[in-house]
Symmetry: C2
Subunit: 352 residues, 2 copies
DNA sequence: CTGTTAGCGCTTTCAA
DNA sequence: TTGAAAGCGCTAACAG
């Protein structure tokens, strides 16, 4: 399919009867050249649809053509949204964005580090998901080593001792906002559903939850907390487990799901067993995906400002601020509670 | 953040007191070398976490380090799924996958072609979405030019006169399957909702629909067809428009939505106006996203075999079959109807 | 088994 | 204004 030999700057130079330097200058529109020759070169280049290879040129300039984004996956709408925004930013700065799926193998990041260093993107944006691992390089060492080769920006919690820009959305505050909202609606038994505390995001959120519950004098030791994971199925299984574990009068009247997927799973399960949302149990999600307003009932959820934070993070990557010492520069964003119907706000304050 | 000067093969060679060739060989584990020196080189490389730059090495070998995937967007779960699968395949063949968002500007693909040629991925996978444009290079020319620089595989309908591999899922047959299913359930007035006939996928699907309707002797001239687009909002608006346009007794009893997003929008709107799915109106979607089973009611939909087709397409890209002349090699997949509840199959055959 | 050398396709001094 | 030439970081052919 591809020609035996791709057309190069030499071919253009030969046909235009000039040197390759002239071709290079013509195509990069540099100053100090006769417009006559430039036109000729451009015309011939157009004829063959020739453009100088960025990878080859980049070698020279010592400038990579791509930026990397590190995530555990891309199917989840949260990550997909981050990728989408980051890609737009990268492109508009002339870079392509390459997706690096976290290779969380037994080697503990070593293979992943190797891959990144081999491919040499011009910088990477690390999103959550990297967890501490007993073997091999730790997350700290991983980033340290990576930074020898390229700038790193973290979208998430800063890592102790790493000097880099971080953009993070305040999940603890998000949890507090959710608790506050549910408390105002009359809820006293509020539960956490889904999420794995191995991830910072989950534990941070839990801290905010505990915080606010205590502030309201609500018992938190036996507050139902269902771990599991981040998929709809975890919501389905988790809610059932939770309901079965408590006697009816101790059952939570409101659920804080770790994300919208889990919330959706929980709502589905509740519908199956005949419990009505929000009448019998209120639900608040987290993420505000495109489909969250299409669930039934429409999901009350936390908007995580993914677009804004992904954009910011890319800006920091493209134009790294001077950092002093080994301290991170963290840019903290506030989430926003999007009130729809699953929380029962329309039902007003109730005695529960 | 990045060191002033990145470590190179020379630095390793100096420290190991060998030539760069020896370093290169050691790190690529090539035969004919003393394991003593190799070990030494590897040890030093490990110490600095050095890996030879793929972009630099690739220049030499004439082999790119990336493959491209062309799509109109990535947020839509369909495209996201294709990307995800393609990325896994690309990685396991040692490539990174870069996302190219179709630049459908007034220049008619010229700028987009320039970008692709400049970045020189080792090949591209084109997914649907490329539409004919009055100005500048046509889709045909676009592909022709691209093929001068890299292999191209199409995930979708073949393009007349282009010799390349195509992997396509039979949307016409999918529409026929859906009509057949609804017909068997007793439906006679079936409508098409959403989609833009400028896209091949929509028109192909419409052809299958008409086909099968006629085969059943069902009137098709005044069959409700609502164009619009592919987002939930189009389903919301479209279904309303359709319902208003027909007197109650002429109203469709079943809807074929162009995709699951549109189906979800339609279901939401129907719930709002108090129509029950599937009792009052049946719905069949298309795509089978992860959330399709979480709608209420769970959506009956067409599984488009995205994983399988993306995988196949990447295989063809990685290992291009010999093509003779200018004829495409097309690999056609059958979609599968996933029967859940929105079609009313559980209600059995009814008189409608 | 190892080092020297010639590029890969391009940009960029440096002279002319 | 232009061309020759020196690399960018690396691999591979070729001697030794």
């Amino acid at each position: 399919m591809a020609e035996a030999r791709c057309i190069t700057i030499f071919d253009i130079a030969r046909e235009a009867e000039v040197s390759i330097a002239t071709v290079s200058r013509a195509l990069s529109d540099s100053p100090n050249q006769s417009s006559k020759k430039q036109r000729k070169v451009i015309e011939i280049a157009r004829k063959y649809n020739f453009r100088p290879s960025l990878p080859a040129g980049g070698l020279n300039r010592g400038k990579a053509g791509s930026l990397g984004i590190i995530m555990p996956e891309i199917l989840h709408p949260f990550y997909c949204g981050v990728f989408n925004t980051a890609e737009i930013e990268a492109r508009s700065a002339g870079y392509s964005l390459v997706f690096y799926r976290i290779l969380d193998d037994s080697q503990g990041y070593q293979a992943f580090l190797d891959l990144l260093i081999r491919e040499r993107p011009g910088g990477v944006l690390m999103t959550g998901g990297l967890v501490e691992n007993s073997k091999g390089p730790s997350r700290f060492e991983f980033i340290k080593h990576l930074q020898q080769y390229m700038p790193v920006v973290i979208l998430g919690q800063p890592v102790e001792g790493i000097a880099c820009s971080c953009v993070t959305v305040d999940l603890a505050e998000g949890a507090r906002m959710s608790v506050r909202h549910l408390h105002a609606l009359g809820h006293r038994r509020i539960a956490l559903l889904g999420g794995d505390p191995i991830n910072r995001s989950s534990s941070e959120r839990e801290a905010g939850f505990v915080d606010e519950m205590l502030r309201f004098g609500l018992p938190v030791d036996d507050a139902p907390r269902c771990e599991g994971s981040y998929a709809p199925i975890d919501g389905e299984a988790g809610i059932l487990k939770m309901l079965r574990r408590f006697p009816r009068e101790k059952r939570p009247t409101a659920i804080l799901a770790v994300n919208d997927m889990v919330a959706i799973g929980a709502m589905r399960q509740l519908a199956r067993i005949g419990m009505r949302v929000p009448h019998d149990i209120a639900i608040v999600g987290c993420d505000n995906h495109f489909y969250s307003e299409y669930t039934s009932p429409p999901l009350t959820t936390l908007d995580l400002k993914t677009e804004q934070s992904a954009k910011l993070a890319m800006r920091y990557l493209l134009d790294p601020p001077e950092l002093s010492g080994s301290v991170a520069m963290v840019h903290r964003l506030e989430p926003e509670l999007i009130i729809r119907e699953s929380c029962g706000a329309k039902l007003g304050r109730r005695e529960l």
